[in-house]
Amino acid sequence: VNPDDLRDLSLFEGLDRSGMDYEQVWLAQVGLGGTTGPVEIEAYILGLLRPDAYRHNLIAQAINEHFLDGGGNHPVAYIDP
């Protein structure tokens, strides 16, 4: 799949397509300034808990940074605050 063809992915779809694991996402969101714990990150991505817009966008950006490194462009959707 062309990275440019990916768009509007959910957090789970983004994780699945990125090949990242949950710990990588957790670390990436820490780098972005996030303080959410690893279990909560996993639960948000799996849709078991519903994050607020800020936490959702932190996780989305964490996954999107991985896509940007590979030539993609923000395929995981954000939530407007």
Binding site: E23, G31, G33, L49, Q61, E65, N73, Y78
Partner: protein, 251 residues
């Protein structure tokens, strides 16, 4: 006028499930978890209840422990799960027995009693169960597995249901008595992550100091620029800091 209540029911079910997960995870983090056997047992019961929500037709969830050459079920969501476990113990084979023995995940779709684990599958079919998934529990003092049962074939085949099952298995492992299982990450936050964290923090401070926004709004602004410029948010943060050094940061 006909009113379709199915979407409302689905929404209500999702809301109830979310509340249960939120409460469960909050309790997992409580400091006295490992000081109180009763509290751990209560949470284990809640975990097995959550195992019944993984698929729409999940019907059983249990824990198998190996005791020498035999197997026991120290906790089960209901009688059906117990029966399915015992069918495997009697046959000395089946997904939960195999998961304890080799430490690997074993899932099967049961289409006939001639499938793999024939003694167990015959019993499962008789009880209306066509899917079984057993995940090894890591960090516990005896070989153990979390078992999930569902009525439909291939119920646990999706990446999502497997992901939820894996999270639940880690939680259950942490709740078993004398467990060494930890829910914290195995990787440490390294210097590179700390450098990025500090960069983002400084860039957000610049934006909050200069404009009428809080830190979350500053993050949103950095992400907005990252999307507009199709670049890393860390590159945007660097730009903000560079412009600040020059005194030239513009809204």
């Amino acid at each position: 006028m006909l009113v379709d209540n199915s979407s409302t029911r689905q929404w209500e079910t999702a809301l109830v499930s979310e509340k249960r997960w939120a409460t469960f995870i909050a309790h997992l983090h409580s400091d006295d978890l490992h000081r109180s056997a009763g509290r751990g047992a209560g949470l284990l019961g809640e975990a097995l209840g959550l195992g019944l929500t993984i698929t729409p037709d999940s019907v059983g969830c249990s824990v198998t422990e190996q005791t020498g050459s035999g197997f026991v079920t120290p906790a089960a969501s209901n009688e059906l799960a117990l029966q399915l476990d015992h069918a495997q113990y009697a046959a000395a084979d089946g997904p939960c027995v195999a998961a304890c023995r080799d430490g690997l995940t074993h899932g099967i779709t049961i289409m006939s009693d001639e499938d793999l684990y024939s003694s167990f599958t015959a019993a499962a079919l008789g009880l209306g169960v066509r899917s079984s998934l057993s995940l090894p529990l890591v960090g516990v003092h005896r070989p153990a597995a979390l078992n999930l049962y569902a009525q439909s074939p291939s119920a646990f085949e999706s990446a999502h249901s497997r992901g939820v099952a894996a999270l639940l298995a880690r939680c259950v492992a942490a709740l078993l008595p004398d467990s060494d299982a930890v829910l914290e990450p195995t990787r440490q936050v390294g210097a590179e992550v700390e450098r990025k964290h500090a960069l983002m923090h400084r860039a957000q401070r610049v934006l909050t100091g200069r404009y009428d926004m809080d830190e979350e709004q500053a993050f949103t602004e950095l992400v907005r620029r990252s999307r507009a410029e199709q670049c890393s948010v860390f590159a945007v943060a660097q730009e903000v800091m560079a412009a600040t050094d020059d005194g030239g940061e513009q809204p």
